[in-house]
Amino acid sequence: MATCKQIGSMLQARIDGELGPAEGVIVDQHLAECAACASQLRSQQRTAAALFEIFGPYRLQKDLSGGVMEHLPEMKPLRIDVEGVNWRAKTPSAHRAWWVAFVPAVAALILLCLALPIYFFWPKAPESVGVIGVITSSAGAVKCTPSYGNADPAAATASTKGLVACGNRYETGPGSRMMLSLRGPTHLKLEENTRVHVFDDRGLSVDTGRVHLDVAKDVRPFTVNTPFSTITVLGTVFEILVDSQKTTITLKSGKIRYENDVSQSELLPEEQVIVTSGDIHPMPHKVDAAGVMQWADAIVPDQNAYNLFTKEIQPKSAAELPGEEVFAIVTTRQNVARPIAAVFFSWQPDGFSSGHCSYEVRICNEAMVELFKTRIDASVFADKSRNTYQVDVPGEPIRNAGVLHVKLVPDFSSGDVMASFTKVWALGI
């Protein structure tokens, strides 16, 4: 016998005609016997009837399919792969491509790969403190005033082989001279009665006196301050003479930008300019630069000090410089190939009497196939009477080489000083 509670839970289904046959019999039997449940049924029936009646006017009166179907042809035809849909229906979660899960990881990896080279190859800020060079020559009464707080005694001496630190000041007395080699390499030659302040390897000021500079090429500009002008260069050979009234600048090679308090201009090779304070347009004039700078040739670096420089200071950046040089020579003129009988080299003379490296010369044709090789001995560069050298082609002249590649490979067994080749050309017959 079902309880009133059980029957109560079936009353609505009874009203809605949703009871199974067996349940129907049980409920009807109970209702016939239980007045309370029968009353409950009637009241619930009345509520249901009232609800049907109230909702009646709002009931959907028409068939919507007609209206909707009319619009279907206007819709974009469905172009889908039914097989694919079936497969998707069967495996709802497996339809994403397998590699989609790896996308975030791969993206992170790519970003990392991009970030690492940037991190490692980001140009390092120049070291503003510390040792940047060596005193490669020093003669007579020279004085060094170390920068404030520099505790290294080796960086506070003005004698040969002393270290040059950022912020050091150097002063040469009457009849004394000195040479500083800074990282780059940049060479400074100081005439007597000169006072300079070395800020770092790309900046200094000349208070008074005469300075010869051979500046290494670098992306960072080299700046020289004098009482009357500021000079900016990238890589060049020039001389500055500062006295109490004016600054005289002489340029041998490269290009210089100079400025005083009111104007700025550029100086070309073999020109000299005198800059004074307030001069609106200092006028450069032609001059024999080599003659003006003759005094500097007398200052030659001490071999031991220069070895210290190449060992301690320069190797840091020497690794960036390719030891090997390749020159390309076009051997055709007006589309006619010229036979080559010899190759000619010229270089910039340096101040060293010995300690040069020798060079292995490899001559290759356009396809980089080696035609022959030879050697330029170190003694050739030590001989100061010359700055050219000729290599004869052994046997028959070279024909149809197209672009001739001349590769110069330094051999440091005889010394460390490399020649700065300026031009390589071919001699025809």
Partner: protein
Amino acid sequence: MQDDAQLVFRCLEGDTEAYGDLIRRYQGAVYATAFYYAGRYGAAEDIAQEALMAAFRSLPWLKEAEKFGPWLKAITTRTAANWLRRHQRRVMMETPLPSRRSVSIEDAREGPRGSLEQDERFERVQTAIDTLPERYRLPVVLRYLQELSYDEITAFTGESRDEIRGILQRAGRQLRDLLSDLDSEEGESTWRPVSR
């Protein structure tokens, strides 16, 4: 008679007549759902049509063809919500009250007794339905507005038949308590909760 999944596949193969069958099968439920959300504003038919067309367009993205009903219900709900958002200004001007506010049982019980005008009676019913638990409301509307069978409600909402039967049983009892004064029959001793 074909089941939903078979009709869906026929539609996907390009047989639009099959979609007609699906519409006839579900239009009552779709209309009732639209009515439940926006019926007062006389837009239920428009919303239902819009939902049925949206469903046809989205059919290729239906993942489980046998669950067409619940999927259609979701689309209908979304369409109605979009409609309400689009017509928010109009709706707010038409009625000072939000369309679906929560009402306490006490609120619903109050009101004039005796014979009520149709509009007032409808308002009472609407208020009473609003007092029901959220998941009871749509089955109640489906049942009383369109007289859908328990099986039809089950197919549309995705709940089991027993759940629907329980929901309608409890909702029916609560509505009887709330709306006992709506029926005009006199002299019957109506059952009331003890707390009354």
